[in-house]
């Protein structure tokens, strides 16, 4: 397939997944704040901090109130990672590959965009954030379902709905975990209290992981939550699961034998998967979860950059060949 097309499908999928995760991301904080003991300050700044966009936020909004943060992360057209901007970008990418994706996918993405655009323009999204974030999650799920059942599971599928989406999801799950870390910074006294458990449960819920976690680990404990969201091989929003799926798609795309590599992103991704396969949660937590996630995010960024360089970058043909191979049909 065309490099440009692969690029667009990859980014279309990433942006939709990003929009969904920003919704989850804000939702976890809304849940945490609702459960907060009386008298405790609202904490919205950590949310901006984990997105990495805090400078732009500080300049234009100043104080991190609930309203400011939600407006910035969800509806601000000038914030390129807001839900609105993600949908706009996803749709622009989809527009350039409309002939590759199914009509049903386009229709759903278009409806999704119109819904978000309307919520942003009318202020309905600000008035009822819970409903809005749920609608975003639903629309994203619907899009993924339609994609899985109407798109050929060929190269385009591996580039977009798997590689793009899974890398994005892995990155965002790591940030959802990180939110808890930033909150903890503010309230070290809460560690180990029932309130702490409530917070971890909220983190699980925001990754739609609560019930699945219960089935596997039963009691809420910080270590088990980290193990579940980071290292589980079977839960579809766990980082390890996402990276394994991305790795398998990369093999499918380039036809490489598992366990070997042909280009840098395959090597980096293979290494990272092995690392997670043999990691123990205690080691990670003892060495510092935040630091671990930081390194993990850097590695995932390197993999994404490698994919872009290997598959999407525009290359020039080699100088004219001497042989007349091209005449043999």
């Amino acid at each position: 397939m065309l490099s440009r097309v692969a690029d667009s499908i990859y980014w279309m999928s990433r942006y939709i997944e990003r929009a969904e995760n920003v919704a989850r991301f804000i939702d976890v904080n809304l849940q945490l704040m609702l459960d907060a003991p009386a008298g405790q300050d609202q904490q919205w700044e950590p949310l901006v901090a984990t997105t990495g966009d805090h400078e732009g936020f500080a300049k234009r909004y100043g104080v991190a109130t609930q309203e400011n943060v939600i407006r910035f992360l969800a509806f601000d057209g000038e914030n390129s990672n807001s839900i609105l901007s993600c949908l706009r970008a996803a749709r622009e990418n989809a527009r350039t590959v409309r002939e590759i994706i199914s009509s049903e996918m386009w229709l759903q993405l278009n409806k999704f965009f119109l819904m978000v655009n309307e919520a942003a323009a009318s202020g309905k999204g600000m008035a009822a954030p819970h409903e809005f974030f749920n609608a975003v999650k639903d629309a994203s799920h619907l899009f993924n379902g339609i994609t899985a059942s109407t798109m050929t599971h060929g190269e385009a599928w591996h580039f977009g709905p798997i590689l793009g989406r899974m890398l994005e999801r892995a990155d965002k799950t790591s940030r959802i975990l990180d939110v808890k870390y930033f909150i903890l910074l503010r309230s070290v006294a809460d560690v180990g209290t029932p309130f702490d458990d409530i917070q971890w449960a909220a983190v699980l819920r925001s990754a739609s992981a609560f019930e699945m976690y219960r089935k596997k680990h039963g009691r809420i404990s910080p270590r088990s939550v980290v193990e579940f969201l980071l290292l589980d091989r079977e839960f579809p929003r766990a980082i390890h699961f996402c990276l394994l799926a991305a790795r398998d798609s990369l093999y499918q795309i380039s036809g490489t034998t598992p366990g070997t590599f042909r280009h840098p992103p395959e090597k980096l991704l293979g290494l990272l998967c092995s690392e997670l396969s043999y990691a123990a949660v205690d080691e990670i937590v003892n060495a510092g979860l935040h630091e671990y996630l930081d390194v993990l995010q850097t590695k995932m960024n390197q993999i994404a950059a490698g994919i872009s360089e290997t598959f999407f970058a525009f290359k020039s043909p080699k100088p004219a060949k001497k042989s007349q191979q091209s005449q043999i049909q």
Binding site: M1, L2, S3, R4, V5, A6, G77, R88, E92, R95, T96, V97, R98, E99, I100, S103, W106, L107, N110, K111, L114, N117, A121, E155, F159, I253, F311, F312, F314, K315, S316, P317, A320, K321, S326, Q329
Partner: protein
Amino acid sequence: MQFDQYEVGEFFDEMFGESGCPRASAKTLVNNIQSLPEGELLNRQRAAERALLQMGITFNVYGEHAGTEKIFPFDLVPRIVAAAEWSRIEKGLKQRITALNLFINDLYHEQKILNDGIVPADIVLSSKAFRKQCMGFNPPRGIWCHVTGTDLVRHRDGQIYVLEDNLRCPSGVSYVLENRAVMKSMFPQVFAQSKIRPVASYPSRLRDMLEFLAPDHVTAPRCVLLTPGIYNSAYFEHSFLAQQMGIELVEGRDLVVDDGFVCMRTTKGFERVDVIYRRIDDDFLDPKCFRPDSMLGVPGLMEVYQAGNVALANAPGGGVADDKVVYAYVPRIVKYYLGEEIILPNVPTYICAEEKDLSYVLEHIGELVVKAANESGGYGMLVGPHSTKEQQAEFAEKVQANPRNYIAQPTLALSRVPTLCGDHFEGRHVDLRPYILYGKDIFVLPGGLTRVALKKGSLVVNSSQGGGSKDTWVLADARVEEQDEFSTTTRPAVVEGHAA
């Protein structure tokens, strides 16, 4: 909603005869509409608009920050063309395209028609669309104009005239297909009762035509559609057609010339391309051959094309035949190559390059439509009766400065079709653009884009100037034909006007 208050006015109405009775071809639809419960038609109109919005068949409204998008206005009441009339249109279009193709081929070879003095050589050779780079070239299968969208209008006299030949990159066929899809869901009963000829085969016909052009030695040709990109106003159509044909949609930057072939950049390296349906103007195709500043094209493309290693549709250079001055000579072109009288007449046309015509045009500028030879989309045009004295004087000056570049035609009273206006119907002026594919044989899509001027009294159907579209129903039922009054329509006395 009822038609009893509907007024046909002083125009030819496509749905109702002068007596106010529905034409035979429209009876089923009129009965169906009138039997709908009050308000139902408006509901369906709204449902149709919603469907078009959700399908993303929209254009951007520039300058509005909120990312406002609007659908191309669409009116639910279709234009109906009876079977007998359509068969005449079809014959006329095939005749015209056959002759134009011979004409283009002649121009780039012996130029017999110029040497015989049928068409003045300076008019052709000074046309901006004449490409001397194409001299002596034989396009694959001898075809130059693969896709044509010919604009037809009906005057008050009931006669259908050819208004313009669009041989370059005519757009709009995607609206024909999408409008039909919407109409079928809105009026399933009418489709069941009347025999409306389907249009859905267009993408497969287009693909067959493209594959027909591939070099002989290629067994499984790879066809692509070359678009200028998402900011082009016809981008929706480009992606739609590529999707429906199942071919790649490429931009210039996806293609590269390598070792005498055109290749596209894929995730697995370069892959050869055999046929390009290009929706980019000649000027921008190849910076090495045409405009050097083009960022949209593919450097070296023309060399590969001329070596026969890739086919282009439409062929570069073919635009010379839709120059508005050359248009005036088409009846003579048909006669010259085919020895036949033209079936679908031209609108009488004054050629400003001819002295007699020029003085007539300058004297009557207030009654005429004056057009620049190389403009489209309703630009570079003066509609005499709707203009001020100053505009007329200004245009007269332009014409005198460069008569070669202008033609003039009488202002036509375009026919009308009932159109939903609030809670009632009013007549609105329409034209019709059928689409013709020239491959192994010539195929005319039964239907076409009916453009409608939605502003009351307006004659300008372009979407940029308040135009919308309607579905076009070509009937297949022979019984309807017999009763239809179109068969009695008289031929106009003057076919070529002053050009003769």
